[in-house]
């Protein structure tokens, strides 16, 4: 086939293009993957008694932290899903949220008597927290990969890292329904490490999985 003939064929496949079709698959992937992750948490790990938890400031501290990370991460994934899309202010917003959380954690540790600091920092579940968040991020990351493959990211490592970060932050938010920990220092460390793990997973696998 000659190129002009190909163009002739393509012109016959040119109905009006839908708008908003970059955002939609990513939101659907967050929803779909999030439901799977929620079911794993609810059926396998078990949730905290919600009525009691909803009245606790520490519950909201966790949800606010990870939930706030989801917003710029989703925006970043949507930008990087378009050819030539660059990260804009989103990484700065993410860094600011991490920095604020680190400051709150430092303040908590500072106010804790020295002999209790390690216990506060490690909580009762530090060994499982980060690996569980990484594990729980996988269904969401997989759904995001499927969504991004229908789009057109051109910086695959960056797009993978952003999708991994988004999956990690969303998974951490859902994990918060199960997690019994109450300390800011715990959350700032072990939650963040889990999210970082998911980011690394995305950065490494993105260039292979996101090709289109």
């Amino acid at each position: 086939m000659r190129t002009d003939e190909l163009i002739g064929v393509l012109a016959k496949d040119a109905p009006p293009a839908p708008r908003g079709w970059v955002e939609r698959p990513i939101l659907l992937a967050m929803l779909g993957g999030g439901v799977v992750t929620f079911l794993v948490v609810a059926l396998w790990l078990g949730c905290q008694p919600l009525e009691a938890a909803l009245r606790q400031p520490w519950f909201w501290m966790k949800t606010t932290y990870t939930g706030l990370l989801v917003v710029p991460a989703a925006g970043l994934s949507m930008r990087l899903a378009r050819p030539g899309g660059r990260s804009s202010f989103a990484p700065l917003a993410i860094l600011a949220i991490l920095a604020i959380m680190a400051a709150i954690a430092a303040r908590q540790l500072f106010q804790t008597p020295a002999e209790h600091r390690l216990a506060v920092w490690l909580g009762a579940t530090w060994r499982v927290c980060s690996p569980l968040i990484l594990l729980l991020s996988v269904p969401i990351y997989a759904a995001l990969v499927l969504a991004l493959r229908t789009l057109a990211p051109t910086r695959l490592t960056q797009a993978g890292a952003a999708a991994g970060f988004l999956a990690g932050a969303l998974a951490a938010t859902i994990y918060g329904l199960h997690c019994p920990e109450q300390g800011a220092a715990f959350v700032a460390t072990w939650y963040s490490l889990g999210i970082l793990g998911a980011t690394a997973l995305g950065a490494v696998t993105g260039r292979l999985l996101l090709r289109w």
Binding site: M1, L6, G8, A81, P83, T154, W212
Partner: protein, 185 residues
């Protein structure tokens, strides 16, 4: 195309075509792809410095990609950086698939639109590399539709299907073609 069109920048010339194509103007879409293919041919030729037919395969892959992914263009943004990003991505992917490690310098959209040293001869060469990836029935569909004067409606009537379902079949075949290109190693 008037005399004016040549003096306009690629951005002012191509973006309106893209917008009209996105709104369903098939003629504008064809004109856009044809204009862009000329830039792609020169750009790939400069960057790869290889045989015409090899280069033309890549032009066809990139044109197909631009077509299939056109909905990812944000109408509020300039058009040339978008099309340049697709072209560059497809070239890197092509080199990776053909097992060549080549460093593609990071440059900007201006590089794609540097100059139009189009070798028109290449357009007329019959290249079947792209189509050869398709199974027979899909290839026949595209062969039928490509014949000038053969409309979607005529091709549909011949097959005893509605024009709507033929359009769907055509779009699926093209999408599938894009995936074949991607998965070829």
């Amino acid at each position: 195309m008037g005399v004016d069109a040549k003096t306009q920048s690629p951005e002012t010339r191509l973006k309106p075509l893209m917008l009209r194509g996105l709104d369903g103007d098939a003629r504008a879409h064809a004109e856009l792809l044809s204009e862009v293919s000329r830039f792609l041919r020169a750009y790939f030729g400069r960057r790869l410095g290889r045989g015409q037919s090899d280069c033309e395969d890549l032009v066809q892959e990139a044109v197909l990609a631009i077509h299939l992914k056109r909905f990812t263009y944000d109408r509020a943004q300039p058009f040339t950086p978008w099309v340049y990003a697709v072209a560059r991505y497809k070239m890197i992917d092509y080199l990776r698939r053909s097992g060549r490690r080549t460093h593609i310098p990071l440059d900007d959209a201006g590089d794609l639109f540097a100059e139009e040293s189009a070798e028109e001869g290449a357009v007329r060469r019959d290249l079947n590399t792209l189509l050869s990836r398709l199974p027979d029935h899909q290839r026949r569909l595209i062969e039928d539709v490509k014949i000038t004067g053969f409309t979607i409606e005529e091709a549909a009537a011949q097959r005893g299907v509605t024009a709507v379902s033929l359009r769907v079949m055509l779009h699926r075949s093209l999408k599938w073609l894009g995936e074949q290109v991607r998965d070829e190693d």
